[in-house]
């Protein structure tokens, strides 16, 4: 299967010192709905802006659908983008936005766009500045999909929406994905949203890729284990401990392992996506805290 997005040693620095993304290497196969998750400021927006060509990398390379992002009109036409906060021209009407799409995209599907807007019940004579957050997100999604992209990138599209609008938005997204067969990369810090729509997960934290893989595979290889208190040093070598909590008598682990766990001392539980994401994110925040603490101790 061809790859939707490939990054190697990708890094982006703003100004002289602030690295928003460092040494990011990943390969996202096409045909997936990819959830890009991470705490605020972890580099999600930077990665997506690099992928769509709004930014250019400081280090490393990124290729999208096999080509440089934003490399000429043909490449721009292959990638749809819904930017954070779904920007629209406040003084232009909804119909003007559809006109903008018609005139700026050779592959524009005007009929489909018109139908989509009619379905959402948005009045096309309304100025974009008067739309509700949910309506604006729907308009932005329509603009991004009606150009018939091969890859759709969405940057926190549902962040500002109330739960109902969020659900409607994700529903229309999923319908469109099925109808158009488009690959999707969707960033969010709302794991519950991702759980409903994504089949591939990338966890970014502190400007690094912490985890990337198909959701099914990730859920199959991660286990929560509860058992009598143990020294973490005495665990099997093929276990990767993501999270460990100890009480006086009991140890709770979240481990990654490809082999089945037969040791009867452990009670083995499945994990869900939220457990997984939180474990990886808190792992980084622990590491980050330790790193800062050690920096502080240096003279």
């Amino acid at each position: 299967m061809s790859s939707a997005l490939t990054a190697e040693g990708l890094g982006k620095r703003y100004g002289r010192r602030r690295w928003a993304l460092t040494d990011c290497t990943l390969e996202v196969p096409s045909g997936h709905v990819v959830g890009l998750v991470g705490p605020n400021g972890s580099g999600k927006t930077t990665l997506l802006n690099l992928a769509v060509g709004l930014l250019s990398p400081t280090t490393g390379t990124i290729s999208v659908l096999g080509r440089n992002p934003g490399d000429g009109p043909a490449q721009l036409a292959r990638v749809g983008f819904v930017a954070q906060d779904t920007p629209t021209y406040v003084h232009l009407s909804v119909a003007d936005h559809l006109g903008l799409g018609t005139h700026l995209n050779p592959g524009w599907d005007a009929q489909w766009a018109k139908n989509r807007i009619d379905e959402t019940g948005i009045d096309t004579t309304q100025k974009a500045g008067q739309l509700s957050g949910g309506q604006r997100a729907q308009l932005a999604l329509t603009l991004a999909l009606a150009k018939r992209p091969e890859l759709l990138l969405l940057d926190e599209p549902a962040a500002g929406l109330d739960p109902l609008a969020r659900r409607e938005f994700l529903q229309t997204l999923m319908v469109a994905v099925v109808d158009n067969g488009v690959s999707v990369v969707l960033s969010s810090h709302l794991v519950a949203d991702l759980e409903r729509v994504c089949d591939y997960l990338i966890v970014l934290a502190a400007a690094h890729v912490e985890l990337a893989g198909e959701v099914e595979h990730l859920l199959a290889t991660h286990r929560r284990l509860v058992g009598p208190r143990r020294d973490p040093k005495n665990l099997p070598s093929d276990w990767r401990v993501i999270d460990a909590r100890h009480t006086d008598r009991q140890t709770t682990l979240l481990v990654r392992t490809d082999t089945p766990i037969h040791d009867p001392a452990w009670a083995v539980e499945d994990v869900d996506l939220e457990d997984l994401v939180l474990a990886y994110m808190s792992q980084t925040s622990h590491a980050e805290r330790n790193r800062r603490a050690s920096l502080r101790m240096q003279p």
Binding site: N49, V52, G53, L54, L55, S56, G70, G72, P73, A74, L76, A77, V79, G80, F81, A83, Q84, D85, P87, T88, Y89, V90, H91, L92, D96, G99, L100, G101, H103, L104, N105, P106, G107, A140, L143, A144, K147
Partner: protein, 359 residues
């Protein structure tokens, strides 16, 4: 892309060109009356007498409209820079809509090129049409008594407003791109435009072409005995009533001897002691100003002045430094071309900045 650029400009373009049309209607209604007044009062005045009175009376016609047009011509280029130039890119960067525009199937180079070209064209057209209407309306008044080289008038007629407007627009667009916020970009555009305009008209325009020098007799040029800028009292010279100097841009009129030394107050006092009795006269406007300096003999001292000039003219003469009136369109073209070239350079810088710094 033209569609979007036009759609974004449309509302303000229609309003602005509407205002221009309204002004043009007012000018079209009053202009013929000015022509008629000129033909009936100023043109026949040599045969009637009192020409300066007729000219002065004619110059006061439509005084309100004249003042309004002066203001409009001075501020229009600046306003175009502030309201069409500065927000052109700054607003997209500020509100984030550039992320929508740059991710359609159009490169950002074409996006910028189309926006600059379309709005720039509208700017040039507006300034050009405005200046055309105003220059036409003012023609009889200018013919009667205005030196078109005059400091402010020069920039309010002909083609220079097009150059200024294009320049102001380009300054606004580039500053908006660099500053990325609309209001600060508007403010700095205004300051930058005014600064360049002032520096150009004060320091650069006089040096665009080497001035002509001509010598005249003292009798034809001496127009007073006065102290200028608190200096010692001396003979002053103006431009002679010579047809070749009509509407010329006079830089200076200096009284010098054969070897080029200026006439000293001591030399004047020893040669013409009778002038001391005439007393201090009001200093005339300095000869460097572009306006016509009318030779007005000092009251009560006219005869003494003429005698003195005759006495000194054996060894002294007046050197006039000036730009002949027929260079007017050369100056207009040069200044417009320079401002337009500056605008194009700034536009080029905008493309460079867009690629080097905004990614």
């Amino acid at each position: 892309m033209t569609w979007l650029a036009w759609r974004q400009l449309r509302t303000s373009a229609i309003a602005t060109f509407g205002a221009l049309l309204a002004l043009a209607v007012v000018l079209a209604l009053t202009g013929p009356d000015l022509v008629h007044l000129y033909d009936t009062t100023v043109k026949p005045c040599p045969s009637i007498g009192d020409c300066s009175g007729a000219v002065a009376a004619f110059g006061k016609k439509y005084n309100f409209l004249q003042q309004l047009l002066t203001i409009v011509m001075q501020v229009t280029p600046a306003l175009l820079g502030v309201f069409w130039g500065a927000p052109l890119i700054a607003r997209e960067l500020e509100t984030g809509t550039y992320r929508l525009a740059w991710t359609q199937s159009v490169t950002r180079t074409r996006w910028l090129a189309t926006k600059l070209a379309l709005t720039g064209l509208a700017t040039a057209a507006l300034a050009g049409l405005l200046s055309l209407a105003v220059t036409w309306w003012y023609a009889p008044l200018d013919k009667a008594g205005t030196n078109r080289f005059d400091g402010s008038v020069f920039g309010e007629r002909g083609i220079t407003p097009i150059g200024y407007a294009l320049f102001a627009f380009a300054v606004g667009a580039l500053l908006g791109l660099i500053i990325r916020r609309t209001l600060p970009a508007m403010a700095t555009t205004l300051v930058a435009f005014i600064a360049v305009r002032l520096v150009f008209s004060q320091l650069i325009r006089p040096h665009l072409l080497a001035p002509v020098r001509a010598t005249f007799t003292l009798g034809a040029t001496v127009n007073g005995y006065a102290s200028s800028n608190g200096g010692p009292t001396n003979l002053t010279a103006g431009n002679p009533s010579d047809a070749s100097l009509q509407n010329a841009w006079i830089y200076s009129a200096r009284i010098v001897d054969a070897s080029g030394h200026a006439l000293t107050p001591q030399a004047t006092a020893s040669a013409c002691p009778q002038l001391a009795n005439v007393g201090l006269q009001t200093p005339l406007p300095p000869a460097g100003s572009a306006g016509n300096v009318h030779a007005v003999p000092a009251p009560g001292g006219g005869q003494a002045l003429q005698q003195c000039a005759a006495k000194l003219s054996t060894s002294y003469h007046t050197v006039l430094t000036y730009q002949p009136a027929n260079r007017y369109w050369t100056f207009q073209t040069l200044e417009t071309a320079i401002f337009a070239a500056l605008a194009i350079t700034l536009g080029g810088a905008a493309f460079w900045y867009l690629h080097k710094r905004l990614s």
